[in-house]
Symmetry: C2
Subunit: 150 residues, 2 copies
DNA sequence: CGGGGCGCTGATACTGAGGATCAACGTATA
DNA sequence: TATACGTTGATCCTCAGTATCAGCGCCCCG
């Protein structure tokens, strides 16, 4: 597999984020990230593996799992709950880690981080707690699905 | 800081909540709920099973899994992430579903729901989204652990 | 420019959380 | 007391996620 030579923002972002942790922006990682960016929906690791395998039969199963973890770790993807005790993933820009997730069509929408930052600071002050990371995800129906199922 | 420690309401609460769904407040369910209330920490289903089995060797494994799901469903427990892609659980009062979780000692603290309610309403208005349920959990260090690891 | 360290990959086999199933049981209502 | 129905525990199964490891390729340093 050849190394990526494009200079699109996604690539630069990934490269920087990974480099900051002594990791490499490999073709596989870009592949996974771009596939994740392309779907507007949340995807489980096995789903994404099957999806990618259609075009890239060489891609390894373990690699997809590992890569998704790296992406979450690098702040470029977010983990969600799916019914049935399964994790699903969605790409997110480096500044927006929280989402509205439609439980009907699995589409995810990014949330403006400002409101949340102030909430976090309030909680830290109130409880003497040091927040490192938060899952702050809202599940429900998007306007389209809410309308469609009246 | 310690959360409210009112003892008996647990049973009434469970009964009502379950009855509202045509379900029964069985001895097993109370057992699981009380064990969950007793630990101030988050616990995984297998951990809780092992814990309960010491005193109640008859208790079935599947029952613990089922019961934890019922409790979450009834709003009396909350699911969390643990490193290693595992779910952990904590009891919560019917009105407080969101927590601060210490990643060092696994203790969980309830968050006042008022601030969150207004955040939710704002998001609903802003995105035309209908929120049914939210995971709103903050992971980090509690004051004790933050102090201890200087 | 050539070797060596190290991170990454893909294949395989494994682990264990959680679910499905089902006969037996308990409890509430008729 | 009889009956219906939710619940339980035992067993077996599924499959998401992990560990392992040999081979490979990038990058650094001589």
């Amino acid at each position: 597999m050849t190394a990526a030579r494009s200079t699109r923002p996604a690539v630069r972002d990934l490269s920087e984020r990974l480099a900051a942790r002594g990791r490499r922006p490999t073709a596989q990682r870009l592949l996974v990230l771009e596939a994740l960016r392309r779907t507007r929906h949340t995807v489980t690791a096995p789903e994404l593996f099957e999806l990618l395998r259609e075009d890239h039969p060489l891609l390894g199963r373990a690699t997809v799992f590992r890569t998704l973890d790296s992406l979450v770790d690098a702040g470029l993807a977010q983990r969600f709950e799916r019914p049935g005790h399964v994790y699903a993933y969605a790409a997110c820009s480096s500044d927006h880690h929280h989402h509205l997730v439609c439980t009907s069509c699995d589409t995810s929408f990014e949330i403006d981080e400002a409101a949340i930052a102030s909430l976090t600071r309030g909680l830290e002050a109130q409880h003497g707690f040091t927040v490192h990371h938060a899952t702050l995800d809202f599940y429900g129906l998007c306007s389209r699905c809410a309308g469609a199922r009246v």
